[in-house]
């Protein structure tokens, strides 16, 4: 009897241990459901790293690493770059990736710094008119992902997932079995767009979804509510961009006065609940380390002085997206701060053809590498492509200083990206650019 009982106990213990081990061990299968507040998913499918990949990528430390290219070298002082194409990489239509595919995808890319992309054997050669010392870094941008389209216009990439369907606001990506880095753990990813935050959180609480967004200002609350949140590095720049057409802001002294009048610490501490950092530079401090060189303190005395020197005709309008409460709050706060400096400013919702004098932009960094990130931001805030930036901190600083000196962009804050995951999500992590690392995650239960 005792022997029987002992055997039974040992068996039960073994079953428990095996079951527990099975829970912590990655396994395949399941559909991970994600919700987002943004627009329809397929609009920029080729920019999704789950679908389309780039020649190079960056690791968690911000270093450039090979992806579709294995090695590269520069010639002619950076005017010519040769990239070796990774072998045994397949598109979602089972065709093997070739140098010709890359040349076809990247030739004629709008805004690209190269003149042409040629095929030389198994390599692709980028010919540039000017020296492009940072081309490998630049190629980490998802803008230069390698993808093609089929007869129906569907995007075909080499990423770990492929698009299999779109119903309403929900896009379904299926795991790509022949992915060159190995099949993802989950069978599919369903991403539902245009979900407001309250609905996302509600769905997460009743296990109707697996991954939801957490705005920076809600991170503290989400953590208090014991949600499984992950916060990225500060990847999103919030900045004011004076309109080029604005007559009211033609005088740079007025733009400078606005910059000096803003109490960035209040914006960060109260509105964003201390998630992020105040910013007077375009790039975040973790990327450059020289943020202290750009003062962020409010200086109403100097702001009033500059306001007195400059001419202001009429009310300066600062636009925000209707329905975005945080943007409206930031815009109204900026208007209040400006009023303290004697600047008449009013926050207005941007609808239709309304062009405010100041636009409140939220810019997601496209790269964790300073120079392409700065170039990306420059293009977004200034509408023009910046000059190539030297691959050193001095060069980046000079470029950033030049960008800020005209006050055509007034940085306010850097805030992180944050997500919360449901309880069945395992290996829950974020990529270097702050998005959920779907390829690495697996689900506890199969569905």
């Amino acid at each position: 009897m005792r022997t029987t009982l002992r055997s039974l106990a040992i068996s039960s213990l073994m079953v428990f241990v095996v079951t527990a081990a099975a829970r912590t061990r990655p396994h395949y299968g399941g559909v991970v459901r994600m919700e987002r507040s943004g627009g329809v998913y397929t609009e920029d499918l080729n920019r999704d790293p789950l679908v389309a990949e780039t020649l190079t990528t960056v690791d968690a430390l911000g270093r450039v690493q090979p992806l579709l290219a294995t090695i590269w070298e520069s010639q002619n002082e950076g005017r010519r770059w040769q990239f070796s194409v990774r072998a045994n990489v397949h598109f979602h239509d089972d065709n093997t990736l070739t140098a010709a595919d890359i040349a076809q995808a990247l030739n004629g890319k709008q805004g690209a710094p190269w003149k042409s992309v040629r095929v030389v054997g198994a390599n692709v050669v980028f010919e540039c008119e000017d020296a492009q010392p940072l081309l490998p870094e630049l190629l980490t941008l998802q803008d230069y992902a390698v993808a093609k389209t089929d007869a129906s216009g569907a995007v075909i990439g080499t990423g770990p997932f492929r698009l299999v369907g779109l119903v309403g606001n929900t896009a379904k990506l299926a795991a790509f079995e022949d992915y060159w880095q190995g099949r993802p753990y989950v069978d599919a990813v369903e991403t539902t767009a245009n979900r407001n935050l309250r609905d996302q959180w509600m769905d997460l609480s009743v296990a109707r979804t697996d991954v939801v967004e957490v705005p920076a200002q809600q991170v503290r609350y989400a953590q208090q509510e014991r949600m499984r949140t992950l916060v990225s590095r500060n990847m999103e720049l919030i900045a004011l961009v004076p309109s080029q057409q604005s007559q009211a802001l033609q005088d740079s002294r007025l733009r400078q006065a606005i910059s000096l009048a803003i109490d960035r610490n209040s914006l960060l501490n109260v509105i964003f609940q201390k998630e992020g950092e105040v910013a007077a530079a375009v790039l975040p401090n973790w990327m450059t380390g020289y943020d202290f060189l750009f003062p962020t303190q409010q200086n109403l005395v100097m702001a009033r002085d500059l306001r007195g020197q400059a001419k202001q005709s009429g009310v300066i309008t600062i636009g925000y997206l209707p329905g975005d409460g945080i943007q409206q709050l930031v815009a109204e706060r900026v208007a209040l701060n400006a009023r303290d400096a004697g600047i008449v400013m009013q926050a207005v919702p941007v609808r239709g053809i309304v062009h405010p004098d100041l636009e409140l932009l939220r810019v997601q960094l496209s790269s964790t590498v300073p120079s392409p990130a700065l170039q990306g931001v420059s293009i977004l805030v200034g509408g023009q492509e910046g000059d190539p930036v030297d691959d050193n901190l001095d060069g980046i600083y000079e470029a950033e200083r030049a960008l800020l000196s005209s006050y055509r962009v007034i940085p306010l804050l850097y805030v992180p990206s944050s997500y919360a995951a449901g309880s069945r999500v395992r290996n829950w992590s974020l990529t270097a650019t702050g998005s959920p690392a779907v390829r690495e995650m697996w689900l506890e239960d199969r569905r």
Partner: protein
């Protein structure tokens, strides 16, 4: 303007004035009654507004007290007292305001710094002035918002934790919804003007389309500046009847400033429509009155003015020489008496004229007899003496008798010739011929007379100057040239006779429209007034040897030409004879003119 027209105008004026006075009096009385009702209704509305204001204020106070006791606010106050993190309460005011149905709510710390604001969340950290002693009741306050100002019915409460204080300032928006809680009688409006700066802004008028709000500006400015009630009539839209009597009642905030103005309006449409009806009725009555006036005036004219007009016509005929006129009247009143008197007057005039003619005729015969006797007596006396002398001479010797006989025969023949001449003159005067009219140039005729008597002018013992002033524009006129030659000659010679000491003889012709004028002036001895009176009387003369028929003949000829002759003279100032002759012949003379023209 005749009597009939005057009567018509008088009647119409009387009717119009009476109707206008009645209409005005009725309008005045109606307006007064309406204004009294307006005042009562406005007073009721203001009382209702105040009651609603008080009721809503109490509601706000109760809600704020419940908020102050709520768990969230107690926790917030506790954390505030212990220096806790206040930023996490950024959205607290908005959430609480929504929960308790308030439009405004601000949570402030001990120093008045805003912890959370429902109406302007971005104002966190800004300081707000707080009263030393929070008022118990709700009060009106201008609430600053990002887009401007709003009116709020606000209350203030405190939450005390230890030494720390948290202030709650909240309330409701005083807006269109608040106004809609007022039950307004038909035709009455209630608006609320939010005082938002010195300049009138139509958008700040709540409850009124902005198109008609502009008319309220003067009244609002007056009420805001004076801080007291005022009223005015305001045009609410371009439609004429869309007017209202508006009472502006300033509402002051906790600082004693005019924060809003309650506008209680009463439509004047019913009054204006009633006044329009009264006016329309008055116009109809006046129109009927004027019609009646016309009829009455026509009747009165038939009754009164027609006999008067007949009398006037008869008078004109009498004045024209027809005295044989009788006025018929069948009335039995003063007009009949007037007609009888007129008829009696014309009868009397005719009788007097007949008597006068008879008398004048006798006098003329007497004068004729006297003149004839006088004229005949002069030659008869020499005849008598000559015959007596011949009788006595028969006794004388034949030679002497022969001589006396011859002389006496000569004298007798001469006197008999004289008697013949006298008789011939009288005969001529009695046989004055009718003028044979023919187109004749008066200028040429005058010129001919002057030429004919040129010698007599020159032979005058004293120098006489002859001046001719003939109007060249004067064309031929119908005249009997012989008779008119006689007229001009007579007057010409008379003028020479009147200037024994010389002088100037002036002959002038004028074209006087329908008449041709001839003036013969001298600068002679002139005439006395008595002589002027009688100068055209037959047989009256101022000359020693005149017959007194010359000017009578002249007058007769001129009269036969349908002309007129007059004399202007003063003793010693000379004499002017003025003859006016018609330029067109009378109908009765046309035949002779034509005949004369063809001869």
């Amino acid at each position: 303007m005749n009597l009939r027209q005057r009567l018509l105008i008088t009647f119409s004026l009387v009717v119009v004035i009476v109707v206008a006075l009645v209409a005005y009096a009725v309008s005045l009385r109606t307006r007064s009654a309406f204004e009294q009702v307006d005042q009562e209704r406005t007073g009721a509305l203001v009382a209702q507004f105040r009651k609603e204001f008080e009721s809503q204020g109490q509601d706000v106070v109760h809600k704020l007290e419940r908020i102050a006791r709520s768990e969230d606010i107690q926790r917030l106050a506790l954390e505030s007292a212990h220096g806790g993190e206040m930023s996490v309460y950024l959205q607290q005011a908005a959430a609480t305001a929504q929960e308790y149905g308030l439009d405004f709510l601000q949570i402030l710390d001990t120093n008045g710094n805003i912890i959370s604001s429902a109406e302007w969340p971005a104002r966190f950290g800004y300081r707000q002035n707080l009263p030393a002693e929070p008022p118990n009741d709700a009060f009106l306050k201008k609430i600053e918002l990002p887009e401007g100002y709003a009116l709020g019915l606000i209350a203030l409460r405190t939450v005390r934790v230890g030494d720390a204080l948290v202030y709650l300032e909240g309330g409701k928006r005083l807006d269109l919804q608040f106004l809609e809680t007022l039950s307004l009688p038909p035709g009455m409006y209630a608006w609320l003007y939010r005082v938002n700066g010195p300049k009138f802004n139509p958008a700040d008028v709540m409850g009124e389309p902005s198109s008609s709000a502009a008319g309220l500006a003067p009244l609002l400015n007056l009420a805001i500046q004076s801080g007291s009630e005022h009223s005015a009539i305001v045009q609410l839209s371009p439609m004429k009847l869309d007017r209202a009597t508006v009472q502006a009642i300033p509402v002051k905030d906790d600082a004693g400033e005019v924060a809003a103005v309650l506008l209680a309006g009463t439509s004047r449409r019913p009054l204006l429509e009633l006044q329009r009806n009264i006016r329309a009725t008055a116009f109809i009555v006046a129109g009927v009155g004027i019609l009646l006036g016309i009829l009455i005036s026509v009747w009165i004219a038939a009754r009164f003015s027609r006999p008067i007009e007949q009398l006037a016509e008869a008078s004109r005929e009498v004045a024209g020489g027809n005295w044989d006129v009788q006025v018929q009247s069948d009335t039995d009143d003063e007009l009949q008496d007037l007609a009888d008197a007129f008829n009696a007057m014309t009868k009397e005039l005719i009788e007097q004229r007949d008597r006068l003619v008879q008398t004048e005729r006798v006098a003329a015969w007497r004068e004729l007899a006297r003149r004839l006797a006088h004229e005949l007596k002069n030659p008869l006396f020499p005849l008598q003496l000559t015959v007596e002398n011949l009788s006595r001479a028969r006794a004388l010797p034949a030679p002497e008798f022969e001589e006396i006989f011859n002389e006496s025969s000569a004298t007798l023949l001469a006197e008999i010739q004289n008697l013949k001449t006298i008789i011939a003159r009288f005969s001529d005067f009695s046989k004055m011929p009718r003028p044979q009219l023919q187109p004749t140039s008066l200028n040429e005729l005058v010129q001919k007379v002057a030429t004919l008597h040129q010698a007599q002018v020159k032979e005058s013992p004293k120098a006489i100057a002859l001046k001719l002033e003939l109007d060249r524009e004067l064309r031929v006129i119908p005249l009997d040239p012989d008779l008119m030659h006689r007229v001009v000659s007579n007057l010409f010679l008379n003028a020479i006779d009147a200037m024994p000491k010389g002088g100037t003889l002036h002959l002038r012709t004028h074209d006087r429209g329908e008449y041709a004028r001839l003036e013969i002036s001298d600068t002679g001895i002139g005439l006395t007034p008595e002589e002027r009176e009688r100068i055209f009387t037959p047989y009256y003369t101022t000359k020693k040897h005149g017959t007194g028929l010359g000017l009578a003949v002249v007058q007769s000829i001129v009269s036969d030409h349908h002309g007129s002759i007059s004399v202007v003279s003063e003793p010693g100032q000379g004499t002017t004879f003025i003859i006016d002759l018609p330029k067109r012949a009378a109908e009765s003379d046309l035949a002779s003119v034509r005949m004369g023209a063809t001869v």
